[in-house]
């Protein structure tokens, strides 16, 4: 079943707000080999002007994951998860994510394209903080391989 072209333009309800924990930031930082003290040590982060430890640039993927789950489980989407390959990824930030942030993520399907038997779905997750200010936008292109 091909990906439903009517997905294009669909906006999903915001995912459950995500509270960024200090230990989660540290855990993620270690997993991506981040060794900068600002990522790990609250005192170093505060000396640099942040409220708490600062997440590495790709941390938003943790928040984005919850919104992509909404897309993949959409009954009429026609997306078979076992056929999904990550094509490309982009993060555009206004400011870095910091421990203590309460983040709200909203997913929009920006495009659905067909390329032979395959489909390319571009999904944009917009992440805002508790004041409603933009923090980061995560854009993923998923390639859904069709039957050969």
């Amino acid at each position: 079943m091909p990906v439903n072209p009517e997905l294009q333009g669909r906006v999903f309800p915001p995912a459950e707000p995500y509270l960024v924990g200090r230990e989660k930031v540290r855990e993620f930082a270690r997993a991506v080999f981040a060794t900068h003290p600002i990522n790990l040590d609250p005192a170093a982060a505060q000396a640099a002007g942040y409220a708490d430890v600062v997440a590495p640039p790709t941390f938003a993927v943790v928040v984005q994951e919850h919104t992509l789950a909404q897309l993949l489980s959409e009954p009429d989407a026609g997306i078979d998860f076992t056929r999904v390959v990550h094509g490309d990824q982009r993060f555009t930030s206004t400011r870095p994510i910091v421990a203590g942030d309460l983040l709200t993520a909203t997913l929009t399907v920006s495009s659905v394209k067909t390329l032979g038997p395959h489909s390319m779905v571009t999904a944009e997750t917009n992440v805002t903080d508790s004041a409603g200010e933009h923090v980061v936008t995560a854009i993923s292109t998923l390639v859904v391989r069709g039957e050969e």
Binding site: K24, E27, F28, R30, A31, V32, F33, A34, T35, H36, P37, I38, N39, D41, A43, A44, A47, A48, Y50, V54, A55, P56, P57, T58, V61, V62, E65, T82, V85, H86, G87, D88, Q89, R90, F91, T92, S93, R95, P96
Partner: protein
Amino acid sequence: MAAVQQTPVQQTPVFEELAVGDVVAEQEFALTRDSLVRYAGASGDFNPIHYRDDVAATVGLPGVLAHGMLTMGFAVQPVVDWAGDPGRVLDYQVRFTRPVVVDPSFGATVTVTAKVGQLDAEARAARIDLTVSFGGATVLGKAQVRVVLG
């Protein structure tokens, strides 16, 4: 770790001293299967192709693969260290072009080279282009980081 620790003074790179083509950072990352399990836990991506040889073989892969997002995640770290603050990274994009197969015994060594690709004097920002290679081939395409140098 001591309760009181002196924060190392970060030298922010000076925009005027940069030229297109300058290599600003170079680093090797030695991945093991442990790295993949650690990233699975930290990111929440538990796709078994990142830790089970049998599942990887069933879906026709050459072996257990590193998460693309793990490679994207560590490839930017040399730039963060060079820039002196993760907050200077305003935009980061990659294309996933080739998988990184992580051998159960020997792991996988991935090399990152970060080079100045473009300079924007008005914004005092640099586009840093990453070359990320494994086994002599690049694994990320169009890997670009926009860094503001203040």
